[in-house]
């Protein structure tokens, strides 16, 4: 179990490094290909940083708002709070605030930038459908997301993906509007080599949103396995989470408040019922297949 955690952590770090390198290459291309040169790059970086800062600091509230979650007190849901408090003790973290989504589809997620301000959000369905041991497994999974700073990482990855999308969008635009102007200005300059560069840039501009999406999903998939493993470490009872995952995935009800942007936050993909299986879906899915997660838990 310890091995699995450290291996997963390394893979996650490698993915984040790869992501940063990717963004660097993309900005470098931007400088090279557009007629804007250094000035355009500075503008792009400023706008990107501004967006990132706003996204970073209000991300948890945005997520909770989109998910139609409401804060609850201990008097309303003593059962939920007792379980959360217990696992906060087990992990040595401050007790997160609890939020509830009024939806009968069973699911849960954690949000926040650091353990001190983290929140755990569950649907009313999960409280009704799981027994105590199973709910402890789910909350332990979310607590591990908080403890490993997954919630922050996921926010950062979302923001990074946002920047990539923004940049590639910009590049495409500058070809369409600014490209002609540049050609006019540089008439008589170098020919073929520059054309090749523009082609490469164009390919990158078209591909980058896809690449970014896949990277984003890969990060979240690795970390689901990691959170399963460290969650099992907290409860010392992997079978509880395995049984919870089985119950949640067997439930066919869709979660109305979830969408493509927030799907990767949940413990089990809330959009699972909206599409069929298959190889491509597996590559693009936000979560590893439930059977693989259950098998990994049963091996512990």
């Amino acid at each position: 179990m310890y091995e699995q955690i450290s291996r997963n952590k390394w893979k996650s770090v490698a993915l984040v490094v790869f992501f940063m390198a990717f963004i660097f290459v993309l900005t470098w291309f931007f400088e090279y290909v557009t007629g804007w040169g250094k000035g355009g790059l500075v503008l792009a970086v400023v706008v990107a940083m501004g967006t990132a800062a706003v996204g970073y600091y209000s991300s948890d509230n945005i997520v909770l708002g989109i998910s139609k979650a409401r804060p609850v007190t201990k008097d309303e849901y003593p059962y939920l709070y007792n379980v959360v408090e217990g696992l906060a003790i087990a992990s040595g973290l401050p007790t997160p605030k609890c939020y509830v989504i009024d939806d009968t589809a069973p699911n849960a997620f954690a949000a926040g930038r650091k353990p001190e301000t983290a929140v755990i959000c569950v649907t009313t369905g999960i409280l009704e459908k799981l027994n105590r041991v199973e709910l402890e497994g789910v909350i332990a999974h979310e607590m591990s997301h908080i403890k490993n700073y997954d919630v922050r990482l996921q926010t950062l990855v979302v923001v990074m993906a946002g920047i990539v999308a923004l940049l590639s969008d910009w590049m495409l635009r500058s070809f369409m509007w600014g490209g002609g102007r540049r050609r006019g200005r540089d008439r008589g300059g170098s020919g073929g080599g520059e054309g090749l560069m523009i082609l490469a840039g164009l390919a990158l501009a078209i591909l980058s949103p896809f690449i970014a999406t896949i990277i984003q999903l890969a990060v979240s998939r690795k970390r689901e396995f990691l959170a399963d493993a460290s969650g099992a470490m907290l409860t010392r009872y992997p079978a509880g989470l395995a049984s919870a995952l089985r119950k949640i995935s067997a439930d066919t009800e869709p979660l109305e408040a979830a969408n493509k942007a927030t799907a990767h936050l949940y413990i089990v993909n809330p959009l699972k019922n909206l599409k069929g299986g298959g190889g491509v879906n597996r590559l693009f899915s936000t979560h590893p297949p439930i059977e693989e997660r259950i098998a990994a838990l049963e091996k512990m």
Binding site: P78, N82, V83, E85, I89, S91, L234, Y237
Partner: protein
């Protein structure tokens, strides 16, 4: 001159290592204390809930005085336990007594429907799992602390400053975490 500088660097390096080891031992010892006080908080909470529970059950099941007495005695023994080991044993007895109390409650449908009883039952179950988690956290920390005192080279520092290994908080049967067996 060169040899002197080399010696100075060596001694300085060793001193920094020793300070680091000493500090991590102190940190772990404080973490053990903190872990223990967390168990204590949850145990107190449990002791506070028990008289309420006994009173509530008494209201419906007056004739089961043997069970009430057992719970009350076990609670008193647990409250007065002094060492880590005694506390562990007293907790075992108390858990067993509470089990028989809930078994008695099973025979009184009206009691099982009582809102106050249900709330106490949930609070007690929640507190019990918190005790279990606090114990787990404490034992993990104790393991780290004891291990640090035994492995080389931090054992030298531990011996020099008289660090003592801590006791684990043990319960005999894994009641809380074991898979639940249902028989029909």
């Amino acid at each position: 001159m060169g040899a002197f500088i080399l010696l100075l660097v060596l001694v300085g390096g060793l001193a920094v290592m020793a300070i680091g080891m000493y500090n991590s031992l102190i940190t772990l010892r404080n973490r053990c204390d903190n872990g223990w006080s967390q168990i204590d908080v949850q145990l107190r909470r449990r002791y506070d809930l028990i008289p309420n529970l006994v009173e509530t059950v008494k209201g419906y099941a007056k004739h089961e005085s043997g069970v009430f007495e057992k719970v009350t005695l076990a609670r008193a023994a647990a409250v007065n336990a002094q060492t880590v080991k005694d506390q562990g044993q007293a907790e075992n007895v108390l858990t067993g007594a509470l089990k028989s109390l809930f078994a008695v409650a099973e025979n009184y449908p009206e009691l099982k429907a009582n809102q106050n009883f249900l709330m106490l039952q949930e609070e007690l179950a929640g507190t019990e799992s918190k005790v279990a988690y606090a114990r787990q956290f404490y034992n993990d920390t104790v393991m780290k602390f004891n291990m640090r005192q035994q492995v080389f080279p931090s054992n030298i520092i531990a011996n020099m400053f008289g660090f003592k290994p801590r006791e684990y908080f043990q319960i005999e049967e894994e009641v809380a975490k074991g898979p639940v067996k249902v028989q029909f």
